[in-house]
Amino acid sequence: MSEVPEKLEIKQKFPLWKKWLKPVTEKDYKPGFYSYMALPKQVNSDFFKMPFGDVVREPLEKDWKLPENWKNIVLNEMKDTLEKNRAFKVFMDICVRCGACADKCHYYIGTGDPKNMPVMRAETVRSVYRYHFTPFGKIFGDWAGARPLTEEVIKEWYYYMLQCSLCRRCSLFCPYGIDTADIVWWTRRILSRIGINQRFMCISIEASARTGNHLGLYAGGMAGAIQQGLEELKDITGFELHTYINKPGADVLFVAPSADYFATPHWYVMLGYLLLFNELEERYGITVTWSTYASEGGNFGTFHSYEAAQLLNSKIYKEAERLGVKFIIGGECGHMWRDKHQFINTMNNLPKNEEWRRFWEDPDLGQISGGLKGIRLDEFISGEHGWIHILEFVAALIEHKKIDIDKSRNDHWKATYHDPCNVARGMGMLEEPRYVLRNVMNHFYEMPEHTIREKTYCCAAGGGMLADELMELRMRGVMPRMMALRYVVKKYGVNIMLTPCAIDKAQFPVAVEYWKIPVEIGGPMEMVGNALVLTALGEKPEDRKYDLRGTPIREEE
């Protein structure tokens, strides 16, 4: 882990265009801001083979060992991208450089580096586009803001394309909807064609391509982790609970980000899932199964390229079909829901099993259990997709009074809610988590209005930026979120920030420690788990003495 100085300074210089057209190269790379490059074992593996991945590359070295023909490859790939992705082409052409996006980027706010303004991040690519793909760029050169493709430009791309967390906050404010995430994503794809890949994301992509999940957990390890969760729940609730894994013929497949099996505070969220599934099975006979093959909800491929994303998310519909489930519930994760909401049914064919087809003809949960009649999924989902978010699902259960809730069990928590970027801007799930939280706890407070909902600030660790070597970038980028959090901590005494995102849950504990904000991090499903009364198992509201973290719910009398 790179050291982050105690005091962060933002020094700003704004060079004129001729100056910034000169690329930033490895000589200017700052520790804490550049990513390590992928090793052959990650990008030359049987299960994830990227072009020219068989070479060890060092970002700080002058020679990046690019393939002989790299220039042609990049230009061909750029041409290909322009043809394959209208967004990329339109965004290359229509930016007017109005600057509305500039102070919307948390990395720009935190670092003050002008090339971290979304407009400039895109401009590093556009300048090359202008030179090689437009007549004016070729004729007027730097006077048209154009520059030829050189090895230095590749180095600049690598530096700045990997200082973006694909949070799309800029795209929200852009009058033309220019989505820097899209430009960055497809430029990373171009870089991957000449062997330039970031190590952090490729470790997970390779692991997921080989084992089914980012952590590289084998089937037994995953089963063991969930089993341990059941043991912990026995201590907390006193009940002998169970769950299914790889179970053919289950009603529902449940897919969570793999961090939930091990990491803290993700762990408490997993306990929440398990409590809910047991209550539902006991009460309504609905069976939910985990899968070791489709054991990863997250998709680091969505940080890398279309093809990598497809490689990873292709398993899930296949598994749904093999197990013969009716629909899929997805767990708490941010970029997972960009992938699962916007990408998965385009990148893959749908399950073809009979159960799936029959369920979606009339997708009322009453089909599974008479007790759940009236919850209709076709109000916004069809059989052409088939995924529901666990919090949408819980919201419906609460609204239809299908589960019993004891709010007072969360009285020791004062919570605020952080919208994960992709859930907010790539999906639009804003109200459901709030609906759930207001119904499972008494103390819920919002952060300032410009930092939540669709305008939410990124945790600065998404999009592959969770790497340890990027620690200073992360701590700087998270500043806007931390300032908003500090505001509610001071004003309302908030002691937990809830977020349905695995990367947030990994980043924020580090961030609040660095920014010295006395607050815990958790997920909404943890609060649901605390408040859920296992009526079907014979639990009374007052029975629960400990919350899922093992701390006493009520003060000792």
Binding site: F14, W17, F48, P51, L82, E83, N85, R86, K89, F91, D93, I94, V96, A100, K104, M117, F136, A144, L172, F173, P175, Y176, G177, I178, D179, D182, T211, G212, A219, G220, Q227, L230, E231, H242, Y244, I245, N246, P248, T292, Y293, Y306, E307, A308, K315, T346, F380, I381, S382, E384, H385, A395, G426, G428, L430, E431, H450, K455, P480, M482, M483
Partner: protein, 336 residues
């Protein structure tokens, strides 16, 4: 001498031809690119269970179907919806964000003033002048009626808007940094056109009857008499030339944003991913992921990944998977 002046008669045809050909080329060029994914930026509550409240703003910002996506485009194009959302971040005030709508105000002023000015110019090209043109001109002059000729507000407002939009590119360090020469160039064109136009109306007071005859000759494809050309004011010729240059330049400039915004997938696509499947035209039948199906071909080399289907997976981790199956796929807390 007078023969040379016919250049000014030919100029608009050339400019308009370049403009039309250029715009069509750009639009066809954009339209020819594939749209692989449905990626709307959702700026409001998604369509969900009915008990989740959605305001009409949510319906526009997170459209549930093509109709609402169209409404969103209308809001974006005619009201600059996204720019209206603009905020400013104050590092020094502990990260306070404030609504900042100056850019929106001046952008609206500038664009709409230009629109009215263009409509007003129709009176040169029509005989008799249509009612709505006269009406717009009348309304435009209501505030400045005391001046002769009546001071038309839009001319002034466009200039104010332009001064703001250019001023921020010159005086604010951040905006100066991101501005390219082409950003200044188009503003320079606009400035020349606006200033010369205002001068012609209020200061120089050129003889507009010749201008109108000239304009009508263009629109009716009847070359003007040498007398008309000879009587055109030199300042008018500057005004006119710059208009033509600008029109010809538009297809190659960032001003194409007026057409491009309609093609922006983050705005023009509905947030109905879970209702309707979007088919990727270059990957329409993804039974097996591309990397495992054909791989990536770069520079003649093929890079293909091994497919991890269930059977491969089962072979790799047979023991563990069999153990799970032996336990009937059930996990229970371990007996101690």
């Amino acid at each position: 001498m007078s023969g040379v002046l016919y250049i000014f008669y030919v100029l608009p045809y050339i400019a308009i031809a370049i403009f039309i050909a250029g715009v069509i080329y750009r639009i066809v060029n954009w339209a020819n690119s594939a749209v692989p994914l449905k990626i709307p930026t959702t700026a409001g509550q998604q369509p969900c269970f009915r008990f989740i409240r959605r305001t009409w703003i949510d319906k526009i910002d997170s459209p549930s179907n093509k109709f609402w996506a169209f409404v969103r485009m209308i809001f974006e194009v005619f009201l600059f919806r996204s720019l209206f959302r603009n905020t400013k971040y104050y590092v020094e005030k502990a990260g306070k964000n404030a609504d900042t709508r100056w850019l929106w105000v001046f952008a609206i002023l500038f664009h709409y003033s230009l629109l009215v000015i263009v409509i007003r110019h129709l009176r040169f090209f029509t005989n008799p002048t249509p009612k709505f043109v006269s009406l717009i001109e009348y309304l435009d002059g209501l505030v400045g009626v005391a001046i002769v000729p009546p001071l038309l507000m839009t001319g002034v407002l466009a200039l104010v808007g332009l001064a703001f939009l250019w001023g921020r590119r010159i005086f604010l360090a951040k905006e100066r940094c991101i501005s390219l020469p082409s950003d200044h160039l188009i503003l320079f064109f606009m400035a020349v056109i606006l200033v010369s136009g205002l001068l012609l109306r209020y200061v120089v007071k050129a003889d507009l009857s010749y201008v109108k005859m000239f304009a009508l000759s263009i629109i009716t494809f009847h070359p003007p008499s040498p007398e008309v050309l000879a009587n055109l004011h030199w300042l008018f010729l500057i005004h006119f030339t710059f208009v033509c240059i600008t029109i010809a330049y538009l297809p190659f400039s960032k001003v194409m944003h007026f057409a491009g915004v309609w093609f922006s997938p983050t705005r023009n696509m509905p947030n109905d991913n879970r209702m309707r499947r979007h088919v990727n035209p270059w990957d329409p039948n993804p039974e097996v992921p591309i990397l495992a199906r054909v791989g990536i071909t770069v520079d003649g080399h093929v890079f293909k990944c091994k497919k991890l289907d269930w059977d491969t997976y089962y072979e790799m981790y047979k023991d563990q998977l069999d153990e799970i199956a032996e336990n009937n796929y059930v996990l229970k807390p371990e007996e101690l």
